[in-house]
Amino acid sequence: MSGSLIGTFDLLDRRTGKFVEAQLVSPAGSSNVADIDGSWRPLMQARIEQLRSEDRLTIGALGESELQDAHWRWSEKIEMSSNRLDRQSFAIVTEGATQGLMLVTTAGFAKESSQHGKPLVMIDLLATAPWNRRGFDAAPRFKGVGRIMMAAAISLSVQEEFRGRVGLHALPQAEAWYRDRVGMADLGIDDTRMRYFELTEDQARAFLAQ
């Protein structure tokens, strides 16, 4: 099964400085799973092997190389999304390869005081292909997955009548992006031991009007 096309956008190829056409699809489908299992995972596994051979395999090094998700059972997560009314998945595809993946829940409750208890789109996962990660690749390839996915999450939130409310837990290297560029409220580190951010109605409006 492959998803339907939400729209055609562009990712910036850092190597050439040029934009390359990218398709945003939803839900993520079997071709995306095949990409992740066939391309993302072997790269991550190879890096783990490399760290091990250099005797540098520590949790810290895994974080620096952005391999925290190396163990994920992606296909299960995507498969599960397809059977559940409260889950949606998005993938960005360029040059026939999956460049990014987003899994969201649409049955969450907001925590920020001005919108406490109201429904929101919770981003359970926003991941870019390893070759697009700055921590993973010294010369990362495409830029823009995060921006497109964030715009998609807000659009979904508006469509669902959640007025742009979005929540997520950011990885440490992405905290500044969500706080300063996306303009989300920083609600601090919660019991997941990650920093939780929430976009309010007003902040969503400001993001779209930027």
């Binding site: 850092r14 939803s26 783990i48 998700d69 997955v145 508006v158 997520l168 290297q173 560029r181």
Partner: protein, 166 residues
């Protein structure tokens, strides 16, 4: 779903955005649960693992004594090697295999995740577990038969482990 921004808008933003990563989600927290997938060397990276493993050895030994089982009898019942049980009980640096931990968890009807953490088979940052495990190990002396106090301590720790996984 209709995107509320245009292709042009996205291009402009992507061009002017700072070049940072935007990844979000569960990965960091999940590290705790990936011992099975992580290379074993990583386990020593979590500071208190040796203490935890020491507590694991004491714990298994106490449970075995509570049930009045010899090493061989436990090995047979839990379908693991007797040699490995001896190593678990005596050598805090010994890292048991995940299967062994699972078999022991099953035999003693303990939550496997808690024992995986305790044994160092999965990496944990669970401070409450570390604290309780150290307290337990420090209090538990190696007597041939469990004293009443030791039995209480053991039961207290079992309760904590079971509860911590709820």
């Amino acid at each position: 779903m209709e995107m509320l921004v245009s292709r042009d808008w996205l291009r402009r933003k992507i061009e002017s955005d700072p070049d940072t990563d935007n990844d979000a989600g569960w990965p960091i927290e999940a590290i705790e649960n990936i011992g099975m997938f992580l290379p074993s060397e990583l386990v020593s990276d979590a500071g208190n693992v040796v203490e935890l493993k020491h507590a694991f050895g004491v714990f298994i030994r106490q449970l075995r004594r509570r049930d009045q089982l010899s090493v061989e009898a436990l090995a047979e019942k839990a379908r693991v090697e007797a040699r490995e049980i001896r190593l678990i009980e005596l050598d805090p640096n010994y890292k048991p295999r995940p299967r062994t931990v699972h078999q022991l968890a099953e035999h003693f009807a303990m939550p496997p995740q808690a024992l995986m953490k305790l044994s160092g088979a999965t990496v944990t940052r669970d401070e409450a577990l570390q604290e309780e495990a150290q307290k337990f190990a420090a209090k538990s002396d190696d007597l041939s038969k469990l004293s009443r106090q030791e039995r209480q301590d053991l039961e207290g720790f079992v309760k904590f482990l079971v509860k911590s996984q709820k």
